[in-house]
Every structure is written in structure tokens, then in C-alpha cells.
Amino acid sequence: MTIDQLATATGERVNAVLRRTVLDHVAPERVAPDRTVPTRPAPDRAAAREFVDEYVVPHADRWDTLGKIPQELLTRIGEAGLWAPFLPAEVGGHGVSMAVLGEIHEEVGRGCSSVRSLLTVHTMVSWALRRWGTETQLRRWGAALAAGDLLGAFCLSEPGAGTDTDSLTTTAQRTDEGWLLNGTKKWITNGQRADLFLVFARGPHGTVALLVPRWSPGVTVLPIEGMLGTRASMLAEVAFRDVALDADALLGPTGLASGMVLTGTLDLGRYSVAVGSVGIIQACLDACSDYASRRQVRGSALRELPLIQAKLSDMVTDVRAARLLCAEAGRLKDLGDPATIMATWVAKYFASCAAAKHASEAVQIHGANGCSPEYPVARFYRDAKVMEIIEGSTEIQRITIAAEADRTWGV
């Protein structure tokens, strides 16, 4: 019986205790199980699509209503190798490319944006660990993150600071043993369930990134419920009160380069949200094509109406354009090309705005049905709005892209 199966059978409190027992009181070398040889083929778009159609799509509306993703699905995601397949085989991943990772997240986003958001923040933590982590940190956390035995969450936003990272008030003080963390993070995706928090705080010489196990004394989690969209993403407010961490908690460099940890991690999150937005548009297109072909208006199918055709044609065009922009960002990531950062900004800007526009049109096409819980488009509509806010709001994206235009073409 795995930790997850045992935890599912015995409840959430036991779940946390089990994780702490297994992962905190065992030597780091033993935390990394023998997963060096993947036991299944590397996941790809086709595998993700099959997984999503079988295990996600039929249940997504119910999870949205419940405001929670069941442990059973989280376990299945791990069994399918979807948590962090880009991690190298040495730590239990499959080494899949960023392009393929994007395709996987698009498929998951098509099925349920809440599930995709869990993958997004787990990806951010796992990627940051791979990019900036020491060998000791990789040994301690890598395999468990790859398998989904531990789930990661990204802790940046605070009650008074979202995009404005200069306003962070969470502090990380140097101590003889390592670090002392104090502060409160808000809107933390999967904060209710995650085991390992990547926390950004004000350090002695700029922002620092710290790996903080949920079971650390002084960590408290307060669920946030009733959100507009991605309602099952298990948001939480996470408070850190005199949380003592050893020196090994620091992820990545300090000083000049500390901001790069944040920049790079947000870039991955932005990429995931961009492809997730493509998934929302595709889901809108699927739902609307189906509805418009079955719904009769004055004796003919809804799809025969020119104004409905106009909406569907715009969805087709934008989903293709958004997918291409995301594919380009993924391709550049795989090349290690710095142009990927701006390409990802552009892709996320276009895809999130298009998702919001077409989710609104999807509700319109469905009429009163679209406002009801009997059809998924109301969920798409609420989820799509969130895409315009997270990992860089539309306004910040416009500022950043305009600055690029000025730098490149201005006089």
C-alpha cells in the first residue's frame, strides 16, 4: 500500500502525519526511491488526452462544486507519470521536452483548469528544484516530486502584494542554523494539500527562495473557498510564524541572481497557464460544436445560424493561433533560447485573453443552458477569467510586451 492509498483510507490528518513520518524522519538518501528506470512510457499528448477523457472530464463539474480534487485523482496522476514528467530519469522523471509538457498541460486544462493549476504549481516547484537545486536538495526532494508522493506549491502572493513583488513583507532572516521565516502568503494554489512550499521572502540582500516542508513547526494553513473560478484548486492562506529552517532550505543563489529564481519559475508557470488557456478554448469549441449541432432553433440546427458560425470560426482560428504561440514558446525553451521568456509572455497574453473571450461566447451560444450547472461552459467562463489574472495579469503583460516593443523598435 502506498502512502497515498493509506492516507486516502485513513483521512487527511493521518495523511499529513504519514508524510512527515516517512519523509522527514528518514535519511534523505532513502527518500529517493529506486525510480531511476521509468516503468512506463513517457507521457505525451495522446496519453494525457486519454487520461483526461477517462478520469477528469466526467468529474470536473462535480469537483468544481465540491471545491476540491479528490486524492484518488492525485494518485492516478502520479501513476500516469503526469506530475513532473520533464524531470530527468535520474530522479524518476521521463525527461519529456517542454513542448510535450505544454501539450500535456493543454489536455489537462481542456478537462479541468483546477487540476491543471495543481500541475502548474507542482511544475514550478519541480522545475526550480531541477534548475537551481543542489545535489543534496535534488536527492531529498526530486524523486518524491517526480512521483507525486510529495506535491509542491508556489508561495509568492501575499495579502498586500501580488504582482508587486517589491512589496513582499514575508521575511527570511539568517540564523546560525539557517533561516527564520515569518510572514503570510495568500491565494496559494494547492495550499490546502501541498507538502512542499517554495516560499519567496525578503532576505538580507534581496528576494530569496526557500523550500519549506508543510510539517515544519510554525506553518499553518487556512483554506480559501468560494472563489470565482478554478474553485477546486484548493487555495489556501499559508502563514509562517518563526519557522526555523536549516541552511539547505535555500534554493538557488542570493544577491544578484536571486530574482532569477522567481523570474524563471514564473516563466514556467506562465507557460502552463498559457497552454491551459488553449485547453479552455478547445473545451469551449468542443462543447459549442456539439451543442450547436444538436440544439434546434425554428426547425434547424443552431449551427446553421451565421452569427453562431461566426463565433465558432473565431474559436477555431484563435485556438490554432494560441496553440502555435505556445508551441513556439515551448520550442524555444527546449533550445534554451532566452527568447522563450518574451515568447511565453506573448503566448500567455494572447491565449488567456482569447480563452476569456471565447468562454464568454460559449455561454452565449448555450443561452440559459450556459448559465446552468448542467453544462460545463459556465465553469469554463469562470475559470477563463482567472487566466487573465494569474501568473502576470493582462495589464502587466501589456506593459512588459510594450516595453519590449520600445526596446526593440523604438527610436
Partner: protein, 84 residues
């Protein structure tokens, strides 16, 4: 010029900031256009262009202050050519 390490670094900075004019000895931080986004781009460029991995302990401001310093950093980290 473009064949040299410094030349390639200069060309990358010039490509990203066409309006700026810098020499190999200019302190790019004092010019005011360095932010975390460009810093990340710069690190990615150095790693990709020169086939190196920048370890955390080399990510200090003095290694990136000028084109010359970055070229020296690349020289330290680039694998030695195989003996003939």
C-alpha cells in the same frame, strides 16, 4: 569581433537593447537597464551559446558587470579543448 566570446556577448546585448551603446568595459548595471528578466535572458544566452552551466556560486554581480567580466567567466567554465 563577433567571433570572440566578448563579441558574441556584446552582440547579444546590442540585439536586446538596440538603442544602447556599450563598450566591453562599461558597467551595464550602472546603465540602468538590467532587471531580473534580462538577467535571466543573459544567463540563458551564456549557457546556450557557450555550452556551459552557470553554478549558483558564479551567479554574483561582479561576474556580470561588464562584457569583459562575462567573457572571463565563460573562459573559466568552458570545457578545455581536447589535446591534439
Amino acid at each position: 569581433m563577433l567571433d570572440t566570446t566578448a563579441g558574441k556577448i556584446s552582440a547579444f546585448i546590442a540585439h536586446r537593447f538596440p538603442k544602447a551603446t556599450i563598450t566591453d568595459a562599461d558597467d551595464i548595471f550602472s546603465l540602468g537597464f538590467i532587471n531580473s528578466l534580462f538577467a535571466m535572458e543573459l544567463v540563458m544566452f551564456l549557457e546556450k551559446e557557450f555550452g556551459i552551466t552557470l553554478p549558483n556560486n558564479e551567479l554574483v554581480i561582479d561576474n556580470f558587470r561588464t562584457v569583459t567580466r562575462m567573457a572571463e567567466l565563460v573562459g573559466r567554465l568552458r570545457p578545455e579543448p581536447a589535446a591534439v
